[in-house]
Amino acid sequence: MGTEGFAVQLSGIEKRFPGVIANHDVNLNVRAGTIHAIVGENGAGKSTLMKTLYGMHQPEAGTITVFGQPHTFRSPSDAIAAGIGMVHQHFMLADNFTVLENIVLGYEPTAGGVIKYDAAREKLQEIMVQSGTHVDLDVTVSELGVGKRQRVEILKVLYRGARVLILDEPTAVLVPQEVDELFGNLHRLVTDGATIIFISHKLDEVLAVSDDITVIRNGTTVAEVKPNEVTRGQLGELMVGSELPSPHGRTSEVGTALRLEVEGLTVAAPSGKNTLDDMSFQVHEGEVLGIAGVEGNGQFELCETIIGLVTASHGSIRIDGDDVTHTSPYERLMNGLSYIPFDRHREGLLLDAPLWENTLLGRDGDPRFRTGPFVNAAAAKEDARSVIERFDVRTPSEVVPAYALSGGNQQKLLVGRELSSHPRVLIAAHPTRGVDIGAQAAIWEKLRAARDAGLAVLLISADLEELIGLSDRIVVMFDGRINAHLIPSEATPEMLGTYMTGGVQEVAS
């Protein structure tokens, strides 16, 4: 194959880690001026490949060609010099710096030791006009939402002169509206001559946005397809080597017992505006109540209030008929409530601690895991092994630290921990966010099984397919209030979208 018209070509890439091969015989041909998606499950070798392309490590074999020139990247700066830029999944921005300061950081234009902000600003204005990616340069990053921060990252890469942008799971942190904006920006960038390598495992997005798709499985590239040549199902099968999971399906009826009752729940914010405003709903035994909503409309506060981390100014919370409004989080968690938090790294896991300490977290009061005042480490490890086995957490053992696992496996461990305490009520916030299809299928299956066994689930999700597929009823939250009640079988993404952005439901009852 020639090099004409290709921005990036990788051929025969092989990367071994001590004793194993993480990438072998990887071939990638990215046409200049296109959006090229790389899809694959977590752990399939996408990240290893991108690290190779970005110079973060060196391959044992194979060649890297950028715009027809063979390259050997010893470090990311070599890759940057060749015109390759990386937008990381986890943003690398200094919160107290302004957007402008963040962008020039490390590449400051200087005159006699003084940073020439005006020159940088001028250059950036030009880039922003050209790329159609706009951000206010003078606000501090801490004031920006996730979508805007991502734009700052993209601008940062463009500012460094990148013509090839690698975006690592860029939509994992975005809400639907922001995803649309991002895709708009990407198209604009491509029109402007940039080439984009888009790493994802969200098939709909990949099919919607890319020009070419390379599928990677088990460390090697298995197919290159065009989005109009494959269906979602076919692409999924290429990716996982088997059929795609679905959140649908149940074998039981919703019970009649009330498990969770929230009545008039109100939380006043210091600013005077209520973050939660008179929320009332009920979840029955064996029922999933889905909560839709654009992030930041009170979902987080709702969860924290039900757990007991935030005190309600009005209203009550009942679990199994018991008023728990004034009990401590610990009491609630010990009495049938479980919580899969929004952000597994921030709120869910002790990344540096071994897995068995992670499965023990919050459950050390359980008589099974204590011997008097001491932790019964043997029993806790035994339990961790059981969670690892039942929830198919891919790990060599229960003593490895949590950071060593992939996101999907971390999440499976977390879900396993929360379900292992046999809760009667589970609050699941984005239970499958940022995990691969295999893990998603496993988590869905476990949630369904627990629900069929009588668990009441409050499901908060930004994945509308998940929300519609798993829920028995859906309520839409907007501005701290319930804005609409929907039946999943009748709900469409468009309807949800309307209510999520504040559209008023015509009330029948």
Binding site: F17, P18, G19, V20, I21, A22, H24, G43, N218, G219, L309, S328, P329, Y330, E331, R332, L333, M334, Y339, P341, R346, E347, G348, L349, L350, L351, D352, A353, P354, E357, L360, L361, G362, D364, G365, R368, R370, T371, P373, F374, V375, N376, A377, A378, A379, E382, R385, S386, I388, E389, R394, T395, P396, S397, V399, V400, P401, Y403, A404, L405
Partner: protein, 376 residues
């Protein structure tokens, strides 16, 4: 410890069991690396100033390995172990208690004063003094804890300030209220403690029995912080306060408890001197335990075993300062070595932590990818 009968192990889980790098091995390796690096750097300094570093180190070893000096090493290590445990308790909760210095002085002074007001049988009297010292240390540290929880004051700032305040308060109380003048004795002190509050020497004037208390403190630290449920919650909260809070562990309560415990242990650091040697508080009080304790805790990576070894090392360095001076090598080289150790240990710890994290991640990935390697 009885465990429920183990369920059969899943066959897929067992064969490739990965051991996390042993904490003890890592502690030993990084401690040795930091100390070696410090000795090399100090050696260069010695060479620059015209002294032969090999010669100086040989003198140190010669002097330090004499029986009396070895006893002195243990004696000097005793308060450092205690102070380091105090610092380490804070570190485990992600708190930097720089106030051990002030807390131990408070504990020492209060015990010296309170101990003279009671009449008790020997063992009880010693216990009484220890309780007073721990209470005073805890109370002093508690101020910083309350400030942090209620007002968000950084504990580093608060404890530094409290060190200065402790010194002034103690000096004032001593000068105004508790000076005890003995005619014909220029050495002004508080009223001496009765012999019932004395800790006996193991080896006359060389080694006091308080070393057993120090070892007990280290053992208790290990038991409470590393093995108990409370310790688990403390470490969880220190490792990720948000995740711990989500799991129902109040981080404010942990901050208060950890600071109180740290302060209580810190209160004991002055006791080997007070109960074992001076038997009264005076202006010639010991100092620097708090700061040396930070270095020892860091060098020992907050690990009980590491703390004991590091405290002995610092005890050794202190014990050879005298003989070095006799050999015309400036004894300040000991201070320099200790200071350099503090710097190298921070650097080495960081490097080692990254290496270990990377190796663990790679090895985990490697073990999971095993079937693929076979296929490839």
């Amino acid at each position: 410890m009885s465990t429920p009968s183990p369920a059969p192990e899943p066959a897929t889980l067992r064969p490739a069991r990965l051991r996390a790098p042993s904490t003890i091995m890592v502690t030993v390796a990084s401690t040795v690396a930091a100390v070696t690096l410090a000795l090399v750097l100090a050696g260069i300094l010695l060479a620059v100033t015209g002294k032969n570093p090999i010669d100086a180190y040989a003198k140190m070893l010669d002097a330090g390995l004499e029986k009396n000096k070895l006893l002195e090493m243990v004696q000097r290590a005793t308060p450092l172990m205690i102070a380091a445990v105090a610092v380490a308790i804070g570190f485990k909760m992600n708190l930097f208690n720089i106030g051990v210095e002030g807390q131990f002085l408070m504990g020492m002074f209060c015990a010296a004063v309170a101990g003279t007001y009671v009449r008790m049988p020997p063992v009880l009297h010693v216990t009484f003094c220890l309780v007073v010292a721990m209470t005073a240390g805890a109370a002093w540290a508690g101020i910083a804890a309350v400030l942090k929880v209620k007002k968000g004051v950084n504990e580093v700032i608060a404890t530094i300030m409290l060190n200065a305040i402790a010194l002034s308060v103690i000096d004032w109380l001593f000068q105004e209220r508790f000076r005890y003048e003995t005619p014909g004795n220029l050495d002004v002190k508080t009223k001496p403690l009765p012999t019932s509050a004395w800790m006996p020497d193991l080896v006359e004037n060389r080694l006091n029995s308080f070393v057993f208390v120090a070892l007990a403190v280290v053992a208790l630290f290990w038991l409470v912080v590393y093995k108990s449920r409370f310790g688990f919650r403390l470490r969880a909260s220190g490792a990720n306060a948000v995740a711990a809070r989500t799991a129902g562990i109040s981080s404010n309560r942990m901050i208060i408890t950890a600071m109180l415990m740290s302060g209580a242990v810190a209160g004991l650091a002055g006791m080997p001197s007070l109960l074992g040697n001076t038997h009264a508080y005076g202006p010639t009080r010991p100092d620097g335990y708090g700061f040396n304790g930070i270095a020892v805790a860091l060098l020992g990576r907050n690990h009980p075993f590491g703390i004991i070894v590091s405290a002995l090392l610092f005890g050794f360095l202190d014990s050879v300062a005298g003989p070095l001076q006799i050999a015309k090598i400036p004894q300040s080289i000991v201070l320099v070595i200790k200071a350099i150790i503090l710097i190298t240990v921070v650097v080495v710890n960081e490097v080692v932590a990254r290496r270990v994290a990377k190796r663990t991640a790679d090895r985990t990935a490697a073990q999971l990818a095993m079937p693929m390697a076979v296929a490839a």
